[in-house]
């Protein structure tokens, strides 16, 4: 099958097998910033944005991305770097494997619910697992990042 996908703003033509998932197709094309964790649609490591909405690329048929805009963490590099500085300031970054998917979901949160309460932020991020930490540092980083975004 073929699909034309706008990845991080650039139109690209992909060729793949019918049942291939977006994460595999993107990684094979060099977008290795897309991580595969559980590969069962639970951990959130493979999160990318499709037309601005966070989805699990390990379980999203590549064919369904045809004609749509896909954003990996490198497509929002400036925001991701900014968020990463908050994450580092709270000592919340450890192995970093979950970070690309995590950062994308936080960025989606900052756009959809810029005034999110901590409870809302926790709910929004529930689908992003981190197996290194206890989430408290991440929570502080998210809330401070949202505050900083809103103060701008």
């Amino acid at each position: 099958m073929n699909a034309t996908i706008v990845v991080n703003g650039a139109v690209e033509r992909f060729t793949f097998e019918s049942g291939d998932m977006l994460a595999d197709v993107l990684r094979a094309a060099g977008y290795v910033e897309v991580k595969k964790g559980c590969d069962t649609g639970n951990c959130g490591a493979c999160t990318v944005l499709v037309d601005g909405k966070p989805i699990l690329s390990c379980s999203f048929l590549a064919a369904r991305a045809d004609g749509r805009a896909v954003t990996t963490v490198l497509g929002v590099e400036e925001e991701a770097r900014r968020f990463a500085s908050f994450l580092a300031a709270e000592g919340a970054d450890q192995c970093g494997f979950c970070a690309p998917g995590f950062a994308l979901t936080v960025i989606a949160l900052s756009r959809e619910l810029p005034e999110a309460t901590e409870e809302e932020a926790r709910e929004y991020l529930k689908g992003n697992l981190c197996r290194c930490s206890g989430y408290e540092g991440q929570n502080r980083a998210i809330m401070r990042y949202l505050e900083a975004c809103n103060a701008r």
Binding site: S18, G19, G44, K53, I55, S59, L61, K126, G127, N128
Partner: protein
Amino acid sequence: MVIDRLVVPADPDEALELIREKRGVPLGGGLWLRMSGKRIGLAVDLSALGLEYIRDSGDSIEIGAMTSFREMEISGLLDERFGGLFSRVVGGVVGLQFRNMVTAGGTVAGKYAFAGLNAALLALGAKVVLAGEGERDFAAFLAESGTKPFLLEKIALPPRAAAGYSSLAITKGDFSILVAAAAFAGGTWRVAVGARPGAAMLSESAAAALGGQARPGAKAIEAAASAAATELTFSGDMRASSEYRREICPVLVRRALEEAIA
């Protein structure tokens, strides 16, 4: 899941023909199917059929089969008509990315027993609309074990209802040990219990105990709650025993009813 061939029809008639005549497997969100490890000769992607909507048709509220859980969760129309029921029922499912992908139709057509959504739809007295076949009562549809291929087009709900929902899970986002939903619509109460762990079922005796009153008293609620636990059957699985489920059933039914009348 292995897919040999995937087609994305833009015409409902073509989709129906592929499903009926070519044994095509309709794809909703595809999340559950993917975990099955099945080999699918012909997959029919329903995402180009324009089945993503939540709308007021005048005499019912319609949810298109390809509407995502997230859309139901944040829908102002569903919130207004059913008092936040949908955001509570589907809002706790796994994570946000997952809910952006899983569909109302996948859960309904798959008759997933673990799904709180199916219990809630039963309580609301939902109808399912199958392409080329017309409207069917969701309770009858859910109880059938037929394998005749079909294409679910949409789910039709009453224009509004007083509704409540209660569930219990070991951790947030996990499959529920038990769910209960209750709704008062068109002068009738419906009480549904799901994740028994079998498919959601209506409790006729609970509805009878509540009668036709919009605001049943504490006694009627207690009677309905214990009637549901007596009438329905429960089984054990890795999450809870049948005894445990029977024990918590009246508690969840009571909470759902109290929420519905609040």
